[in-house]
């Protein structure tokens, strides 16, 4: 590991100023991803600004919902009674990720800013445009089972690993950011970006931008929500694909409003808007859900290695809706 300086931040504004003034400085939160990257030589910062002791670790009930401090641990967020009742997809997504130990350590903000688990990104001996811009993409012609099927570019074909980010996009959450230019509020669904010709940046945040909180707005949609994750093993693995669904259903079974967000398929949580449009205002049936998923998947461009993700995400979407409306499968039989 390269030598580095360590600064324990005393308040958020000072932390932001310290990082903003030093291109070689990085924030350190729970450390579950960054410390590993230091060991692997994936990133070599000169200074770590430790934000894990900042008082950003509370829950605040607001008129619109619940505000979660960026340092709230994944385990505490998942277990919170208000979150379990009002935003079950958030609890479910967190519980489907990592291990008990890591959830006790990993933070809300850090979860959103974790980096890809692409095997080439994590291996500094191979070219990777995300790790070393301009060096090329090894995954495009290499081991491709985990690659994106939507929104990829020649520069980068990887997917974003956060389960929480997928869930937040499904409940219209917002991310509060303190940066060198002041405070701003970013819809969670707009935090992450597609690679285009700039694979280096995972999000729209700039150097020195610090996530301070996440806002969860209360809604009928959020209350009826769930998360389905498909993995190579039963637990403690990243998603092959995942699905967050939030559903507001009228008494007659018509879809009043819906969110469908996919993980494991793109460089960002993939809001399946075409699928949502196909479902909104119509009676909810299993056939309608599958047709809606197909409408979204019409633009999928999987490599042969990742082709299995197309039927997998369609099936996982149908399963998510069945979990929310158990009668669905019965009706179609």
């Amino acid at each position: 590991m390269k030598e580095l300086a360590y600064v324990r931040a005393s308040d958020p504004a000072q932390a932001v100023a310290t990082v903003a003034d030093d291109p070689d400085a990085r924030f350190l939160g729970g450390g579950t991803n960054l410390v590993d990257h230091l060991k692997l030589g994936i990133t070599t910062p000169g200074t770590l600004v430790d934000i894990s002791h900042l008082p950003l670790d509370g829950f605040e009930e607001t008129a619109d919902g619940l505000t979660i401090g960026a340092n709230v641990r994944n385990s505490d967020l998942a277990a919170d009674r208000r979150v379990r009742a009002g935003w079950p997809v958030v609890s479910r997504a967190l519980l489907a990720g990592a291990s008990g130990q890591i959830r006790n350590q990993a933070t809300t903000g850090g979860n959103l800013l974790q980096r890809t688990r692409c095997v080439y990104f994590q291996d500094p001996t191979t070219p990777c445009n995300k790790r070393e811009p301009g060096s090329g993409c090894s995954a495009a012609g290499g081991y491709g089972r985990y690659n994106a099927i939507l929104g990829a570019s020649p520069a980068c074909v990887t997917v974003h690993p956060s389960d929480l980010a997928v869930a937040l996009a499904a409940v219209d959450a917002a991310v509060l950011v303190l940066g060198p230019g002041g405070r701003r509020r970013i819809p969670a669904a707009e935090l992450h970006r597609l690679p285009g010709d700039d694979a280096e940046h995972d999000t729209v945040l700039g150097h020195g931008d610090l996530i301070t909180a996440v806002e969860l707005p209360a809604s009928a949609l959020a209350r009826r929500s769930t998360y389905v994750k498909v993995r190579d093993r039963a637990s403690f693995a990243f998603a092959l694909v995942s699905v967050a669904v939030a559903l507001d259903l009228a008494e007659d079974g018509t879809v009043t409003d819906v969110r469908v967000v996919w993980g494991g398929v793109a460089h960002k949580p993939w809001r399946a808007e075409r699928a949502e449009d196909a479902l909104r205002g119509r009676p909810l049936t299993e056939a309608a859900v599958r047709a809606a998923a197909d409408a979204e998947l019409a633009s999928a461009a999987p490599s042969s290695d990742a082709g299995y993700k197309v039927p997998m995400v369609r099936n996982a979407t149908a399963l998510a809706f069945r979990r929310l409306v158990p009668a669905l499968a019965e009706e179609d039989r």
Partner: protein, 170 residues
């Protein structure tokens, strides 16, 4: 760059001088001589370095020691200070190990996990998030899921499961 921090390890306050890059695991093992937490993968994937940190199960390999100045740490060795902890006794009763390398991490993880479950923490396999979690609800699949951060390459999982089940009283 060396800095001196203070850790309470297994009930003893200890000063330890560490580099900015020293992990909590290396501080415990190499600087303080506490070899109870084990270095398995050193990348947060195996759980053998698990301790109880400020009361919660926590990895020590993905933790820079400087960030934990003032922390209170209990290792598996510390759990046995006044005789074997019930979880340790249960691992003996059910042969919850073969080579023993993962065992200190398994034991700390089980102690932390049982505490989480007794405080209404749900898991991935919990069917209904509205129903309070209790120790008595810990089915085999709940125990397996909650212990999934600890690998045992000898494959002593049936014994580990039986040991944890005994302590949970499920």
């Amino acid at each position: 760059m060396d800095t001196t921090i203070e850790l309470t390890v297994d009930g003893e306050r200890r000063a330890v001088t560490v580099d900015t890059r020293t992990t909590l695991l290396d501080a415990l093992r190499e600087r303080l001589g506490n070899t109870s937490p084990k270095k398995g993968c050193d990348h947060g994937q195996c759980g053998s370095c698990t301790v109880l940190l400020d009361g919660r199960r926590h990895l020590t390999c993905l933790a820079l020691a400087l960030s934990y100045d003032g922390a209170e740490i209990t290792t598996a060795a510390g759990l046995a200070r006044d005789g074997l902890h019930p979880v340790q006794q249960a691992f003996l009763d059910h042969d919850g190990y073969q080579c023993g390398y993962c065992t200190p991490g398994q034991v700390c993880s089980a102690v932390g996990m049982l505490d989480e479950a007794s405080r209404d923490a749900p898991s991935h396999v919990t069917e209904d998030l509205d129903v309070p979690t209790t120790l008595e609800d810990l089915t085999d699949s709940e125990i397996r899921e909650r212990m999934s951060g600890n690998l045992c390459r000898c494959g002593a999982y049936p014994g580990i499961l039986a040991a944890v089940r005994q302590v949970a009283g499920a």
